[in-house]
């Protein structure tokens, strides 16, 4: 039976490295995928690139590759990653440099680009999703525009037998779908199998979130060995069915609960999951526990791919100034409330009037507002004030006023932190796929 073993080496840019190294060394993998691009990551990376033409890829690229490349090359495991972020070309050069420093004799790297569609977005007017405005309202503020490429963009790299495929914005599950399509020869219009490949990709793309991470609730959901939680892999068959599991000797758990939680994670309509390659239907997916830490996943359908591709637009959106200070002991909450009143009056006098803000007490109402649990009297509270401003100076003033509560506020405040940050926000739009031109360049060591 032809089984393709595909593992997940990272579920976000800052993910742990040891479990990925373990998977690379002991997983007997055909492919290892690193998904490291959140919605805003690429916009921030684009800003770094604008200051330094050699920057803009994932800052942990080198460290991650050093950890896994020796094992992956020795075992013939293909590495696929979006760590190219806003600069896949420069990332490709880094991969070669790392390979040389590791003493590898040969390596083929594929750099897949084409997701950067900023010029197109600057030249066309299309509606923003979930908004009544259009892209033109971001004029002068847009810092990046990246189309979500599909698995089809990665296939030339895999056909060229690349050992490492590095790219920028590609739909997360497509990073997993591409090696499956390539290995099994799934046609690009085999919607059912593409849909199942998306099920596999979706279950794997957040790494430990399917193998025991982010689910423990002591006494209700217990997770053995959470400190050493292992990353997942899928054993995929030609029909698109697969088993999700993790390595023996790692912590965590893989069962119906962990797989269901990840299957539904961040989905809108489970029957209509829009992807560049297919509209996947998860509504009929079944999960069956077939052994310790082994879940068989079957079902999943697909419908023809959408005509347009989703684009993530990064834009400058003002500043956020924030300050925090703690109060503890009897009356902590009332002192925190008094401090908020004082702050409000001082900021008004400083001319910071009518700005969008949040004034709250952590431990009372910072998470879910005044209606949930805010009637309890906590031992300690942490005041938090965050204000959206047009200028950096106004944002700085917010933190300064919180800090001034030391000498000029209620009794016993301590542990002030303050910050000012420029906001890079993200909006979404759709564009015709014909206007997006993926490109694959091969680098050889």
């Amino acid at each position: 039976m032809d089984v393709y073993r595909i593992g997940s080496g990272a579920g976000y840019a800052g993910d742990r490295i040891d479990p990925a190294r373990d998977l690379a060394e002991r997983g007997r993998l055909d492919a290892l995928v690193f998904e490291c691009l959140a919605e805003r990551t690429i916009a921030l990376a684009q800003q770094r690139r604008s200051q330094d033409p050699d920057a803009g890829f994932d800052p942990m690229l080198e460290e991650r590759l050093c950890a896994v490349l020796p094992a992956c090359v020795a075992q013939g495991t293909t590495v696929v990653t979006n760590m190219g972020a806003a600069n896949p070309e420069a990332a490709g050069d880094v991969v070669l440099r790392v390979a040389r420093s590791l003493g590898l004799r040969r390596l083929r790297v594929a750099v897949v680009t084409g997701d950067d569609v900023l010029p197109w977005m600057q030249a066309h007017d299309v509606p923003l999703m979930d908004s009544d405005q259009t892209v033109r309202c971001l004029d002068g503020r847009m810092v990046s525009a990246n189309a979500y490429l599909g698995a089809d963009a990665l296939l030339p790299a895999l056909r060229a037998q690349a050992d490492v495929v590095v790219t920028g914005r590609v739909a997360d599950p497509a990073l997993f779908l591409a090696p499956l399509m390539h290995h099994f020869g799934w046609p690009a219009d085999d919607w059912q199998r593409l849909g199942r490949g998306i099920v596999a990709g979706h279950l794997l793309e957040c790494a430990a979130q399917v193998s025991g991470g982010y689910i423990a609730d002591p006494g209700y959901v217990d997770v053995p060995g959470l400190d050493a939680v292992g990353f997942p892999l899928a054993e995929v068959r030609a029909d698109g069915s697969f088993v999700i599991t993790k390595l023996d000797g790692t912590g965590g758990r893989v069962d119906r609960l962990t797989c269901t939680a990840q299957l539904l994670y961040e989905l809108e309509d489970p029957a209509c999951y829009l992807q560049p390659d297919v509209v996947a239907d998860f509504s009929g997916v079944t999960l069956q526990e077939v052994g310790p830490d082994r879940v068989a996943v079957a079902g999943g359908e697909g419908a023809p791919r959408p005509e347009r591709l989703k684009v993530s637009l990064g834009y400058r959106d003002g500043f956020i100034g924030e300050g925090q200070i703690s109060y503890a002991g009897p009356g902590a909450r009332r002192r925190g409330e008094l401090a908020l009143t004082v702050l409000e009056r001082r900021l008004q006098k400083a001319g910071l009037v009518g700005l969008e803000h949040r004034a709250e007490l952590i431990g009372v109402n910072a998470m879910h507002g005044p209606h949930r649990g805010a009637d309890r009297e906590p031992y300690e509270v942490r005041l938090r004030l965050a204000v959206r401003t047009d200028s950096r100076a106004q944002a700085d003033r917010v933190g300064q006023e919180v800090e001034a509560l030391y000498l000029n506020g209620p009794a016993g405040g301590g542990g002030v932190t303050m910050s000012t940050r420029e906001v890079i926000a993200v909006a979404s739009a759709l564009m015709p796929r014909e206007a997006v031109h993926p490109h694959c360049r091969i680098l050889e060591l």
């Binding site: 959901v221 939680a261 539904l264 994670y265 809108e268 489970p270 997916v285 998470m367 938090r384 993200v426």
Partner: protein, 104 residues
């Protein structure tokens, strides 16, 4: 009894929408979960937090109820002023919802 006694929850973000999956420990409890998690009850539970409409998807074969809540993330992760901009902690709040209406 509360949701926490029969189910776990995980939330996620999609723009200014929060998704909330509630999954029964024992799939046989799906019907109780479905009865408890009506759109009206969930909307009331998250009043002041979820400002938009809520859509509900029932997945009996998975023992899960999946909720998609509009205007739940103060503008979305990338521009929100909230401490938990992703709305990750919204999952914790639903565990506190009584399975049966008060006084029933």
């Amino acid at each position: 009894m509360k949701i926490r006694d029969i189910a776990l929850a995980r939330s996620g973000d999609k723009g200014n929408r929060a998704t909330l999956s509630v999954i029964a420990y024992d799939p046989a409890d799906f019907a109780r979960l479905e009865r408890a998690l009506t759109v009206e009850r969930v909307q009331a539970h998250y009043r002041g937090v979820v400002l938009g409409t809520i859509r509900r998807y029932a997945l009996p074969h998975l023992g899960a109820v999946h909720l998609v809540m509009d205007e739940a993330l103060a503008g979305g992760v990338t521009r929100s002023l909230a401490l938990d901009a992703h709305g990750k902690t919204l999952s914790g709040a639903i565990l506190d919802l009584p399975l049966e209406p008060e006084g029933a």
